[in-house]
Amino acid sequence: MSSNQFYEISGKEEGIRLESIKLEDKIQSAVENGHRSLEINAFGQHGIGGRLWKAADEKINIKITGHPGQRIGSMGFPNTTIEVMGPASDDVGWLNTGAEITIHGNATNGVANAMAQGKVYVGGNLGSRCMTMTKRNPSFDPPELWVLGSVGDFFGEFMAGGIAVICGVSPQTPDNVLGYKPLVGMVGGKVFVRGPFNGYSKSDAKLIPLEDEDWNWLTENIQVYLEKINRPELLEKLTDRSKWQLIRSLSPQEKITVSRRTISDFRINVWDKELGNGGLIGDLTTADRSQVPLITTGNLRRSVPVWENKKYMAPCEASCPTGIPVQQRWSLIRDGLFEEAVDMSLEYTPFPSTVCGYLCPNLCMGGCTRNKSLMKPVDVKMLGKSSVTAKTPDFPKPDDRKIAIIGGGPAGISVAWQLKLAGHDATIYDASEQLGGKISKMIPKSRIPEDVLLAEINRVNDVIPHKHVEDDLTIEDINRLKKENDFVVFATGAQKPRMIPVPGKERLISTNEFLVRAKADDITPGKHVVIIGAGNVGCDVATEAHRLGSEKITLIDVQEPAAFGIERDEAEEVGAKFMWPCFTKEITEEGVLLTSGKTLKADTVVISIGDVPDISFVPESVEIERGFIKVDRNFKTSDKKIFAIGDIVKPGLLTDSIGAGRVAANRITEILAGKESEISEVKKIDINRVSLEYYNPRLDAFDDINHCGDDCASCGSCRDCGICVQACPQTAIARVDKGKDFEYTVDDNKCIACGFCAGACPCGIWDLVPNKPLG
């Protein structure tokens, strides 16, 4: 059989249209029987010309006349050439894998949908959604679609490869040969187009210059195409290079960088242009609003570190009624300035050794920060005892301001001492020949070495004028003194023993009398002693009684005894017994009869339930409250020329009296200078700022004064250790030498306000405080 002769197959049989399944069978059978040229007179059958693999590599020519149905040449093989002599329906070349299909007319929708290889030549226009989802397999040539006129809407959707050529000759849509929304989702291939079009999906494809290589390909292949559709005369018209444009898909990389206007550009050219310089609120504020990083320096820090050296009181100083800045003395010790540390005490107290070293319960040590971590407080007694050698300061020459001080006990001596230091003419009036009051007369010798006491009394005697008053002072005396002096200070203490109203009370001996006589070895208390009132003074009585030969000493009280510390320890050591609650009914010859009926045998009964002041000499201008003189916080009485300090105001410790003296003296000096009261409002430091972790917690005893100095936490006072300089990650902290003094400073332009300085500081000097508000 000749391959040039067409074997005719009709789509009708006996006038009746064959179903697609039957025509397909006829076509496949013809190919199987060796026919290689078929002419098919179609009557709307589906898929004509596809799937002719039975011819293997032999060429098959199919000519279709009549009216073919959809999907001509679908799944077409490379061996197949199809020529449709008129127009065609939908999906020509659907899933074409190599067939060459020519349509001599228009084709409707979906031409070349999913075509992977082969060619579709169309001599007319196309409907919508053609060349969609086409692909290019790298092992084969790309599929091609040639269109003489225009294409319908949604051309080239998801086109993933292949070449489309739209010639724009007699287009159905002359204004837009590419149709509506072409090339959406295109990822591969290219489209040659000749004629006007209204855009394409710019996020998927772009126009590119028509290079020689593409142009050569087009001119070469367009001749083949024009011959296929029998329009060779158009060659000249269609090879005018200037009329052609080329669109290709964007690469994935190009798609990522599809640019919209940058926001910065929008801000400058749209936003600020409309609103004015500085944008939305440029008219309301000129403050800088530019972006800052998370970590800032200088003014942009939310907090700033401050070096608060000596801004707060150390707890020891705050606890000391006398107000001695103990931490500063330890600081001097650390600096090797022992003498200065010792001498300094005399600025605050005339009895640095007697009181701090022996008689004081050392409230400073009770307040010591180290207690918080159950560490042993720094031993102030050591420093106190050493202070007996303190050098008497140079007192200024007294001015003409005169102050009379009534009473030469610790309070009176303190106020006189301070007034002399301030350069005033202070004189003590006292009934005793010796200054010292309680300290010299009543404190048992066991509590303090005599030479220490004597040394300090002498130091005082050298400085303070003392008038011995033999007679009891009267109100008239006071009024006279008021006239002769700028101020009068009452410091007579409380010397009248408080009594209990029980029968036989005349048998009682007062503590004061007992202690004074005991100290002078002027009393024999006997074997049995009962002390009513088990406080610390009662303990002193017990200790003295023991020294004087008593064997059975009993302290009784109506409540749990208040005695504490060394006094109680010593009383217990000598075998004194504490009994409570005991209520005294009567003092008999045998001893103390209690309300319980029991009698405590006693040779001597000492009453030790406190003393009240003798106020017989106090003029009416001075207000009294419950037997004591009423004072303000500066110890000034209601009489503006009279101050009152010590036990006449309120019973207290020696250090309370000494502190009161200092306060009163300061105020008197202020008044004399015409100044307002300046009571220091310095607050105690928050001890949580102090780091005790730097010290050995197992320390049980201090070797010496230097050891104490080293382990004092120096709360609130910089110990100049330089830890902060090293802790700062920004090297923002520097030590500035200021001669005798020094300072630590922060470079604001380096500091990031991390607070490491505050965190690491052993003494609690650094704090992190909010920066000044901005804006």
């Binding site: 926001i263 609120i281 309301l284 970590i295 005790l692 990031i752 505050a758 992190l768």
Partner: protein
């Protein structure tokens, strides 16, 4: 610092706090950045001591001890310095040495945040551990050769919604004839940035949002709108062409309204709409308070008040005593201000009484719509009790309202805008689509915007939420330049654009398979279902398992 202290009932240990700082000594370089950046001073450098015991027996060896002092990054345990889990320390740590970790048991701090008798306040959203109803709604109706097969990527969709009273033609004609007026209607993008005031938000945040919104309009052709919240509106914006992208809010404090009124004659365009705020989902029935320390020069200028005074917005408007009066009086007044050219609508908290408001609105042709704010909405500051326990879920509130409108035959006439927790678990488009299909014409979002556009790290599980104290570590809600300058308005604007574009794609991905492209599927409830029987019944949607 010694840990040997007297405790108080409110003394807490690290274990008791909601967040615990995990710090790695081996990795730490002690650069100081974590303690520097921490907004709460929750961490600090601290000195510690280590004891080394050398307790062994042996000839010539005496048992001994030695100590070594070292430094650590330590967590503060006071309630005012408790870690809020913001993880800014982690953010700045170059060595990944520090991170807050959520406590493995309920925080004990909750019992002590009432020091001095002050009830606890915070910012953020209500606490929650479960996904919301909107998260559980599935879109069931998918075109499988049934409806037109649409492709979100290549087909065109009408994504806009209408804000304004859409009366039937005959009624409009009647109104036109009688009054020479028909209700103004705006075509807007259905995702609206809800009211967050200039003051609640920082200047950089606010400008960034407005810039992003303007960009979407000017450059992307998306008619996105943003509500001012109650705090006035910068004078420049009032006099700019961008005002048409702005919904001006008036609320019970009336802050900034003198400036708005003054600027009316100078306005070059009308605002998009006026929102009258009656309630907020995060704190229904409660007002607001901008503390005096946040009222700096700038805020004072915009709100039209002196500097340094506290600004209360009462829970209620003072001059309105009934729904009828509130709706009629306020809508009339606000409409009149712009010559009845601007839609005016109320915004209320979702509540079991919402339908009463809706019924009134239905009778008032001047009412442009109704915005309802659900219980999961966010806020800059509210009492924790209000935030955690008060309010009504948005899903059923919108659904009830929509079904009521269908009964009245007005479902296409009065647009409902729903807000409050939309996208709170990140599912913005799905939540929005669900709410639209339940009957909302549009969605309002606030907290999501802060999260997506500015990196807000607040959460429903006790993270951060300190908007109320002005210490926002991202600079979103602070008036302190040292904090708000961390935020770049441009970057915020860029993120606004990003999330709007992605939202637009996602919502198309949901509605394309429905075969709907010519209008939003408002109330298209046959498209949704839920695998919770009671929820399905309550919302009148399909129950699917």
């Amino acid at each position: 610092m010694s840990s040997n202290t007297k405790i108080t009932p409110s003394s807490l240990s690290k274990k008791d706090l909601p967040w615990q700082i995990e710090w790695d000594n081996d990795k730490c370089s002690f650069c100081g950045q974590c303690t520097s950046v921490c907004p709460m001073k929750a961490i600090k450098m601290s000195v510690s001591r280590k004891r080394m015991m050398n307790l062994s027996l042996g000839s010539g060896v005496k048992p001994s001890n030695s100590y070594e002092t070292f430094q650590t990054i330590m967590q503060n345990t006071t309630s005012e310095n408790a870690c809020i889990g913001c993880a800014m320390c982690t953010q700045v740590c170059e060595n990944h040495a520090i991170m807050p970790v959520k406590s493995d048991e309920p925080s004990k701090l909750a019992y002590h945040v009432n020091q001095g008798g002050n009830a606890s306040t915070r910012g953020g959203r209500r606490k929650s551990n479960t996904p919301g109803v909107l998260d559980q709604i599935k879109f069931l109706r998918i075109s499988m050769l049934t409806d037109p097969a649409l492709d979100a990527g290549r087909h065109e969709f009408e994504m806009n919604t209408l804000l304004g009273r859409v009366l039937p033609p005959e009624e409009n004609i009647k109104l036109l004839k009688e009054n020479g007026w028909i209700p103004p209607v705006r075509e807007i993008y259905p995702l609206v940035i809800g009211g967050m005031s200039f003051g609640a938000l920082s200047p950089t945040m606010w400008e960034g949002l407005q810039m992003g919104v303007s960009y979407l309009n000017e450059e992307m052709g998306m008619p996105v709108r943003m509500c001012t919240g109650e705090g006035g509106c910068p004078p420049r914006l009032l006099r700019s062409k961008f005002l048409k992208y702005v919904i001006l809010q008036i609320a019970s404090g009336y802050f900034g309204w003198d400036e708005i009124i003054r600027s009316i004659p100078e306005m070059v365009v009308d605002p998009c709409a006026i929102e009258i705020k009656y309630g907020q989902g995060a704190k229904p029935g409660d007002g607001g308070l901008l503390m005096w320390h946040k009222v700096n020069k700038l805020i004072a200028a915009i709100r039209g008040v002196p500097e340094g005074i506290s600004l209360p917005s009462p829970p209620t408007h003072q001059t309105k005593y009934s729904i009828e009066e509130a709706v009629a009086k306020m809508i009339q007044s606000m409409s009149m201000a712009w010559g009845f050219r601007v839609p005016v609508y109320p915004k209320i908290s979702a509540s079991s009484t919402a339908l009463a408001v809706l019924n009134n609105i239905a009778r008032n042709p001047y009412a442009a719509g109704l915005a309802i704010d659900g219980e999961d909405g966010g806020t800059g500051a509210a009492y924790s009790v209000s935030m955690n326990h008060m309010g009504h879920p948005i899903a059923s509130s919108i659904r009830d309202s929509y079904l009521t409108l269908t009964k009245l035959g007005k479902q296409n006439e009065i647009p409902l805008f729903g807000g409050g927790g939309i996208g709170k678990n990140g599912n913005l488009a799905a939540n929005a689509a669900a709410l639209i299909m339940l009957g909302a014409s549009g969605i309002q979002i606030g907290k999501y915007v802060m999260q997506a556009a500015a990196g807000c790290i607040g959460s429903e599980k006790d993270r951060c939420n300190i908007c109320n104290v002005g210490k926002c570590p991202k600079g979103i809600t602070s008036q302190d330049p040292r904090l708000y300058r961390r935020l770049s308005p441009e970057k915020v604007a860029e993120r606004v654009v990003d999330f709007y574009l992605s939202f637009d794609m996602e919502i198309r991905k949901i509605i394309a398979p429905l075969g709907r492209s010519t209008s939003l599927p408002i109330g298209m409830s046959d498209a949704v279902g839920i695998n919770d029987y009671h929820a399905a019944k309550r919302l009148n949607i399909k129950y699917v398992v």
